[in-house]
C-alpha cells in the first residue's frame, strides 16, 4: 500500500523561491553547477566485524554499507549459485522524518533498485560462491545503513555498497562432509566481482535537470530519475521517482547527464579502494 506523502519535510517558501530562481540562471543554492555532484568521501574497511564495509559521505548525506558472508543453502532452482541480498534501513537517527519500524516503501525501493542493478549485470559471480554444489553456498548480505539524510540516498548507497563489495574478503573455511566450518580470522580470497555500476540521480526542477539533488532540491523537484551506469557506459537500471512526469526528451537528456557524471563516482570509488581511507571526488 502506498500513500501520497502527507508529512512532507517543509522547505521554507523563501528558500524554495531562491532554489527556483537560481535554477533559472543555471545556479544552485549550494553553489554547484547543475551537472555537478557533491564531494564524495569514502572510508573502506570501516568495520572490523563485517567481511566488507564502507562509510560514505555524499555532501552531508552519510551511509554505512556492511557486507556479511555466511554459509547457507542455495535456492532450490539455482542450486549451484551463491545468494546475494541487499537490505536498506532508514534508521531514525538519520532524519527527523524517519520513524523506527520495518523498512517503509522508500527503503524497500532503494534496496530493490540497487539489488536489481547488481543482479542484472551479473556483477557478483555467484557461480563462484558455491561451496558444496546444491547444498552449501555463500550468502552475501549487503546492509545499507543511512545515518544522515541530506538527499540522494540512492547514489550514496550505491557507492557505499560498491566500495564495500570491492573490499570484501571471503573468510577461510573447511568442508567436513556436508558441513562447512568457517574461520572468520582467515581469508580465502576476495569477493569475485565482474561488473560494476553506479547510480546517477537527476532531478527536474522547472525545466532544468540537476545532478545529485540535496534534500531541499529533492523536496522542491517536479520529478526525479536515476540511471545505473556500468563501467563500460551501458544502462544497467532505471528508476523514475516522484510525483511528476517527464517528457521523453527530458529523459534522454537526463540519461546523457548520467553517463557523463558516472565516471566521477567510479573515480572516487577507485581512489578509496586503491588507497584505503583516501578522500576522492
Amino acid at each position: 500500500m502506498s500513500f501520497t506523502p502527507f508529512r512532507i519535510p517543509i522547505v521554507p517558501q523563501l528558500k524554495k523561491n531562491m532554489i527556483l530562481s537560481l535554477i533559472e540562471k543555471g545556479l544552485r543554492i549550494d553553489g554547484r553547477r547543475p551537472e555537478e555532484p557533491r564531494p564524495v568521501k569514502i572510508v573502506t574497511h570501516y568495520l572490523d566485524k563485517a567481511e566488507g564495509s564502507a562509510y560514505v559521505e555524499l555532501g552531508k548525506t552519510k551511509v554505512i554499507a556492511g557486507v556479511k558472508l555466511e554459509v547457507g543453502e542455495p535456492f532450490r532452482d539455482m542450486p549451484d549459485l551463491g545468494v546475494f541480498t541487499v537490505h536498506a534501513e532508514f534508521v531514525p537517527l538519520a532524519s527527523p522524518s524517519f520513524e523506527p519500524g520495518p523498512p517503509d516503501e522508500n527503503a524497500i525501493e532503494l534496496s530493490r533498485v540497487i539489488d536489481r542493478s547488481y543482479r542484472e549485470l551479473g556483477a557478483v559471480e555467484l557461480e563462484k560462491l558455491s561451496i558444496i554444489p546444491g547444498k552449501k553456498v555463500w550468502i552475501v548480505w549487503v546492509d545499507l545503513y543511512i545515518i544522515d539524510h541530506d538527499g540522494n540516498l540512492l547514489d550514496a548507497s550505491m557507492i557505499a555498497s560498491l566500495a564495500a563489495l570491492k573490499t570484501t574478503r571471503i573468510p577461510g573455511f573447511k568442508v567436513e562432509g556436508d558441513n562447512v566450518v568457517v574461520d572468520k580470522e582467515a581469508t580465502s580470497g576476495t569477493l569475485p566481482l565482474k561488473e560494476e555500476a553506479v547510480y546517477v540521480h537527476i532531478a527536474k526542477i522547472g525545466d532544468h535537470l540537476i545532478v545529485d539533488p540535496s534534500l531541499d532540491e529533492e523536496v522542491v523537484a517536479d520529478s526525479r530519475i536515476a540511471f545505473a551506469v556500468s563501467r563500460d557506459g551501458r544502462i544497467a537500471g532505471i528508476q523514475k521517482m516522484g510525483q511528476g512526469g517527464m517528457t521523453i526528451d527530458e529523459i534522454n537528456n537526463a540519461m546523457e547527464l548520467a553517463l557523463s557524471v558516472a565516471p566521477k563516482y567510479f573515480n572516487a570509488v577507485d581512489a578509496a579502494v586503491n588507497n584505503e581511507g583516501n578522500e576522492g571526488r
Binding site: 516503501e105 551479473g122 551501458r234 517528457t247
Partner: protein
C-alpha cells in the same frame, strides 16, 4: 531467474515464441464498470495477464491525520491474488508489491486532479488475477480506467506497456517467458496526450542507443493503447446514455 537453459525467443522468421512480431503487443481486452460496489472499476488483460482495478472515493480518510489541506491523497495497493502465479503466492504483501504500489501511485499522481478534492482520500485497489508478464503496466492501465469510470477528474489517461530485449532484439509487451529468459524488461507508462512519461523502470542492461529506441517503441504502442482506453470509456457512456 536468468540462469539455466535459455530457449530461443526469436524465431528464424523474426517472430516471437507466440508468433507476434517484435512491435506487436498481445491481444488487449478492456472493460469498465465491472463491479457494483466500487465507485469505478476496470478489468484489463494483456494476453493471459489479467488485472482488476477498483476505485473508492474521494472519501473520508480512514485516519484523520491522513489528509492534505489542499488536495486529495492517493492510496494505492497493488496486490497479487494467491492463484495468479505459477506457484501459489502468499497473500501477505511482498517487498515487490510494496515497491510496485509506490511506483504505480507515482504514475497516477500527475494525472489525477487531486487539487479538486482537498482533505479526502482516493483509494485505488489493483488485484492481479493472473500474472503472465507486464502486471504493473497492465495494472496502471486498468487503474486509470477505473479512476475515469469513478468520474474522478483527470488531466489525461495513463497507459502502460513493457518493452523488452530478448535474443538481442527489442520487443513490445513482453510476456512471462520473454521476461524470464530475456536480457531486459523496461516497463513504461505515459500520459500520452500530455506527452509525459510517468512510470519508467529498467531491469536489465541496455546500450544508450537501445534505450532511445525502446522509449520510442513504448511511445508508439502507448498511443494506441490510450486510444483503446478512450474507446472503452466512450462505449460505456454511450451504453449508459442509451439505457
Amino acid at each position: 531467474m536468468k540462469y539455466g537453459e535459455k530457449p530461443q525467443l526469436i524465431k528464424e522468421d523474426g517472430t516471437r515464441l507466440d508468433g507476434r512480431r517484435p512491435e506487436e503487443p498481445r491481444p488487449i481486452h478492456m472493460e469498465v464498470g465491472v463491479l457494483e460496489n466500487a465507485d469505478g472499476s476496470a478489468l484489463v488483460s494483456f494476453g493471459k495477464t489479467r488485472v482488476l482495478a477498483a476505485v473508492y472515493g474521494p472519501r473520508e480518510p480512514i485516519q484523520k491525520y491522513m489528509v492534505l489541506p489542499d488536495r486529495a491523497i492517493l492510496r494505492v495497493r497493488y496486490h497479487m491474488a494467491p492463484f495468479s502465479t505459477g506457484e501459489r503466492k502468499s497473500p501477505a504483501p511482498s517487498r515487490r508489491e510494496i515497491e510496485l504500489s509506490k511506483v504505480i501511485r507515482e504514475a497516477l499522481e500527475p494525472v489525477v486532479m487531486t487539487e479538486l478534492y482537498p482533505r479526502t482520500m482516493i483509494d485505488l485497489f489493483i488485484e492481479v488475477l493472473q500474472a503472465d508478464g507486464g502486471t504493473r503496466t497492465t495494472g496502471v492501465t486498468a487503474a486509470s480506467l477505473a479512476l475515469a469510470d469513478a468520474g474522478i477528474a483527470m488531466r489525461d489517461l495513463v497507459s502502460g506497456v513493457a518493452i523488452g530485449k530478448v535474443n538481442g532484439k527489442l520487443v513490445v509487451d513482453i510476456d512471462e517467458v520473454e521476461d524470464m529468459y530475456g536480457e531486459a524488461d523496461m516497463p513504461v507508462a505515459m500520459a500520452t496526450r500530455l506527452g509525459k512519461v510517468v512510470l519508467l523502470q529498467l531491469n536489465g542492461v541496455l546500450s544508450k542507443e537501445e534505450f532511445v529506441k525502446a522509449m520510442d517503441m513504448a511511445r508508439k504502442t502507448l498511443e494506441a493503447i490510450s486510444e483503446m482506453q478512450r474507446k472503452t470509456l466512450l462505449e460505456k457512456y454511450s451504453k449508459v446514455l442509451q439505457s
